[in-house]
C-alpha cells in the first residue's frame, strides 16, 4: 500500500530532513516509525500525504505517485498530524460532522468503523474540542481521520504527551483497525510501543538504520546484555561504566542494562569488582535486549 524508495528531502533552515529512506507497508499492516524528535518522521508523513515534495527518490501510496497523483491520494488517505489539528472552538460533534462533509460522507455511513472509538468520546460530544484532555483529543482526531474509511492511515505521533493508560487504549484501537484491512503507518518516540507494531523502522537524523519485525531487530542485537541491580543505583551506573568489560551501560527503570565489549572478561569478574567497591545486594542476570537497547546501540554511531 505504501512504497518509499530512497526518499530525500533537505530543509535549508536547520539541516534536518530525510537522507534516503526506503520502506514498504502492506495492506492490513501496522508499521511503526520509531525515533526521537528530529528523526524525520513528520517530513516523511508530509511527503506521503502529498503536503511536501521530495527532493529526490519516489514514493507511492495505494499505487499512486505522491507527486503526480496528489489529488487522488488525498481522497484515499486519513491523516492525523503531529499536533492537535481540530477546531478547538467547535464541539466534538461539530468537528465530526464537519470533517464528514468535507470528505463527502456522513457520520452514519462509516459508523461501524469508528464505533469503538466514538462511544468513548460520545459522553462529551457537546464539549468544545479545546476543552478535552490529551487522550480524548487524540481519540477524536483519530475518528476524524477515519471518517471516510481511508485505505491508508497516517498517524504522526498520536500518543506523544498522552498518559500510559490512554496510550494502551489507543494501540488497542489501532489493532482493531488493522483487522479491517487498513494499512497504518504510525510514528512514536516511545520505544516500548515498538512491540505493538507488526514491523518497525528505527529512525534517527533523517535516515532509518534498521527495518524489520520487533523480534528480528531484537535478535539481530549482537552483544550480550545483562540487567544489574544493587542498592545505590545512581552511583552504580558510573562504577559499571568504568569496569573494563563494559561497552555501554544505561538506566532502564529499576535496573541498569549493561552491554559487553567483544573481549570482555567473564561476568563473574564484574560481581567481584562491584563487591570490592562496597556494593551489597548485587543482582546480575542475562536478559534479552529490548527495542530500546537496539535503538541506543545501533543509533550510537
Amino acid at each position: 500500500m505504501i512504497a518509499v524508495r530512497n526518499l530525500h528531502k533537505t530543509y535549508t533552515r536547520n539541516g534536518l530532513g530525510l537522507k534516503g529512506i526506503s520502506l514498504t507497508v502492506k495492506a492490513g499492516e501496522l508499521f511503526g516509525l520509531i525515533g526521537p524528535d528530529g528523526a524525520g518522521k513528520t517530513t516523511l508523513f508530509r511527503i506521503l500525504a502529498t503536503l511536501l515534495l521530495p527532493d529526490k527518490g519516489s514514493a507511492s501510496v495505494c499505487g499512486l505517485d505522491v507527486v503526480k497523483d496528489w489529488r487522488e491520494i488525498r481522497t484515499r488517505v486519513g491523516y492525523m498530524p503531529g499536533r492537535f489539528s481540530l477546531y478547538q472552538d467547535l464541539s466534538v460533534k461539530e468537528n465530526l460532522t464537519f470533517f464528514a462533509t468535507v470528505f463527502n460522507t456522513t457520520l452514519k455511513e462509516n459508523y461501524e468503523l469508528i464505533r469503538d472509538i466514538y462511544v468513548q468520546i460520545e459522553p462529551f460530544k457537546n464539549r468544545r474540542a479545546g476543552k478535552l484532555s490529551g487522550g480524548m483529543k487524540q481519540k477524536l482526531a483519530l475518528c476524524c481521520a477515519l471518517i471516510h474509511r481511508p485505505d491508508v492511515l497516517f498517524l504522526d505521533e498520536p500518543t506523544t504527551g498522552v498518559d500510559p493508560v490512554s496510550r494502551v487504549e489507543f494501540w488497542d484501537m489501532l489493532h482493531r483497525l488493522k483487522k479491517q484491512g487498513i494499512a497504518i503507518l504510525v510514528s512514536t518516540p516511545y520505544m516500548d510501543e515498538a512491540s505493538r507494531c507488526d514491523r518497525i523502522a528505527l529512525m534517527r537524523n533523517g535516515s532509518c538504520f534498521t527495518t524489520g519485525t520487533p523480534d528480528m531487530i531484537r535478535q539481530s542485537f549482537k552483544r550480550p546484555v545483562y540487567s544489574i541491580r544493587s542498592d545505590k543505583m545512581y552511583q552504580l551506573l558510573g562504577d559499571i561504566r568504568s569496569w573494563t568489560g563494559a561497552y555501554s551501560c544505561y538506566a532502564f527503570g529499576d535496573s541498569h542494562h549493561l552491554t559487553l565489549k567483544d573481549n570482555a572478561p567473564d561476568i563473574a569478574n564484574l560481581e567481584t569488582y562491584l563487591k570490592g567497591k562496597g556494593y551489597t545486594d548485587v543482582f546480575i542476570h542475562p536478559i534479552e535486549p529490548s527495542v530500546e537497547d537496539c535503538f541506543m546501540e545501533l543509533g550510537n554511531d
Binding site: R13, N14, G15, G35, P36, D37, G38, A39, Q120, P123, F124, L132, S133, G134, G135, M136, E157, T160, G161, V162, D163, P164, V165, S166, R167, V168, P189, Y190, M191, D192, R204, M233, Y234, L237, Y250, A251, F252, G253, D254, E292, F295, M296, G299, N300
Partner: protein, 244 residues
C-alpha cells in the same frame, strides 16, 4: 525540612473539582515523581505550587512560603521547566543563559562563571553562539533544565521534560537531574515514561484529582503485586471515572 507541604489542598473550577483535598509532603533533596493520567489534576496542582494559581481551600507551603500570601517569594525560590516552553528559540545559547540569569538577579561576574561552567558540563562550548531553535530537542531540554536551576533554587518543577527526546539523551537528562539532586536541589517531576518513574525516590499517582498512591517505587510495586511501575500505573489509573 519539607520543601512542599500540603494539607487538604483543593482547587475547584465552578462545580468541577480539579484537585481534591490532596495532603502530602516532599522532602528536601529528594526526586519526587508526580504521576497521573491526562486530566487527573497534575497541571492544576503544579500551578498552585508555583504560585500561579490560588487554591480554593486547604493549606500548602512551598520552600517554606505560604501559597496564598507569599507567591512572589515562592517564585524566587523555585525553578520551572516545561516541555512546551522553556527557552527562546530565536535567541542564541548564551543569550538565553544571560537572560534567565538576569531575571533571577545573578551578578554579571557570577553569570559569566555560571555560563562557562554550564556550557562545559553540557558539552555545548562550541554551540555558544548557536540559535536555540537549531539545537536537537534533547540538547535543548538539557540546556533548559540547566537554565531552570541556574539560580540554585530550593526546588525545581519539571513538567514532562523528556517527551519526544531520544533514549540516550533522555538518560543523560536524568543524570543531570541526579547531579542537581546531589547538590541539594529538590526535584518535582511529571513524566509519561514509566521507566523514569523508577528513578524517583518517591512517586505519587493522581487519579481524579486525588492522590491514590504515594511511596517508594519498590514499595508500590510490592503493594500492587506489579512487576514494574507501568503495571502499578495501569491498575490505578484505570479506576478513573471522570473521563475529562
Amino acid at each position: 525540612m519539607h520543601v512542599i507541604e500540603t494539607d487538604k489542598l483543593t482547587k475547584r473550577f465552578g462545580d468541577f473539582t480539579a484537585v481534591d483535598r490532596i495532603s502530602f509532603w516532599v522532602e528536601s533533596g529528594e526526586i519526587f515523581g508526580f504521576l497521573g493520567a491526562n486530566g487527573a489534576g497534575k497541571t492544576t496542582a503544579m500551578r498552585m505550587f508555583c504560585g500561579l494559581s490560588v487554591p480554593t481551600s486547604g493549606k500548602a507551603t512551598v520552600a517554606g512560603y505560604d501559597v496564598y500570601r507569599k507567591s512572589e517569594q515562592i517564585k524566587k525560590h523555585i525553578g520551572y521547566m516545561s516541555q512546551k516552553f522553556s527557552l527562546y528559540g530565536d535567541l542564541k545559547v548564551w543569550e538565553n543563559i544571560r537572560l534567565f540569569g538576569g531575571i533571577y538577579g545573578l551578578s554579571s561576574k557570577r553569570l559569566a562563571d555560571k555560563t562557562d561552567e554550564l556550557l562545559h558540563t553540557l558539552n555545548l562550548e562550541n554551540e555558544r553562539d548557536t540559535l536555540v531553535d537549531s539545537l536537537p530537542l534533547g540538547w535543548k531540554q538539557k540546556l533548559a533544565f540547566s537554565v531552570a536551576i541556574i539560580h540554585e533554587p530550593t526546588i525545581v518543577f519539571l513538567d514532562e521534560p523528556t517527551g519526544g527526546v531520544d533514549p540516550v539523551t533522555r538518560r543523560q537528562f536524568w543524570e543531570l537531574i541526579y547531579d542537581a539532586s546531589a547538590r541539594g536541589i529538590t526535584i518535582f517531576v511529571t513524566t509519561h515514561y514509566m521507566d523514569e518513574a523508577e528513578y524517583c525516590n518517591r512517586i505519587s499517582i493522581m487519579v481524579d484529582g486525588r492522590i491514590e498512591a504515594l511511596d517508594k517505587p519498590s514499595v508500590l510495586k510490592e503493594m500492587y503485586h506489579a512487576g514494574n511501575m507501568n503495571e502499578v500505573f495501569q491498575s490505578l489509573a484505570r479506576k478513573a471515572t471522570r473521563g475529562e
